[in-house]
């Protein structure tokens, strides 16, 4: 890959941080959504287990 690509015509210090921050935001969105869904699933399972314990 040519050095011209990485230097972005002298604008590298503005262009690459934008793309890096975009990657960070997309990765955070995926991570936090998965975490939120997993936590909700765990809470629902706990709630069901407690309900089953109360019935028996």
């Amino acid at each position: 890959v040519s050095s011209g690509f990485w230097s972005m015509g002298g604008y590298a210090r503005f262009v690459w941080p934008c793309f890096a921050f975009a990657c960070l935001v997309l990765a955070w969105n995926l991570w936090s959504a998965r975490r939120y869904r997993a936590a909700a699933r765990l809470r629902a399972m706990r709630s069901l287990l407690m309900a089953a314990g109360g019935e028996s």
Binding site: F5, F14, C18, V25, N29, Y36, R37, A40, R41, L48
Partner: protein
Amino acid sequence: MWTWFYKLASPPYVYGAAAALTPWFLVLAALTISYGLVAGLAFAPPDYQQGDAFRIIYVHAPSAWMSLFAYSTMAVAGAIALIWRIKMGHAVAAASAPIGASFTLLALVTGSLWGRPMWGTYWAWDPRLTSELILLFLYVGVISLRSAFEDPARGDRAAALLGIVGLVNVPIIHYSVLWWNSLHQGATVAKLGKPSMPGSMLWPLLSMLLGFMFFYGAVLCMRLQGEVLNRERQAKWVREAVQS
């Protein structure tokens, strides 16, 4: 049409549809974003005025568009929930808010980094920038308001109302560059007539926009599953859903 609309009021249907759609959205997002990145960074020619700095558009414009789209989705879902008393509307609104807030932050940061070499400053109290910043505050307000009440139903209603009121900011953001003198450039793609970009620059941009929309769809579906589970914890169908 109404049958389909009423189906959306059913939590198991919404949960199942969100679970089924997530992988498709993720694959489509990966494909379109990959094409957009490669074509935009490596193959699109530099702009005759802005040089390679214009490539920031490939993350800035899609994130700005998505900040408005996610807000509109949130407000419309909140309105549906208030008018028709469909609880899933509040779930969609709650799921959309943090994603929209993150896209708004991304639009502001990338815009700021683009502004430095083009305008000579990271920030100006320009109508477009200021109204986008207000959008971020609206997102933060909606998210905070939802969790500020002990009764979740009251929090949902208050957040939906604020979301609907804040919707007035969406056309202000879009038309701010036409209504007031602005440092920000005018519309490049979303305007009447031909886009002011050649195809080699435009296709990667449209691909990135599509990719961000698919990505939003995927993350919305994942968060929506969590929202539905949180709200329907006691329901019988949840037993089968969480054990699968």
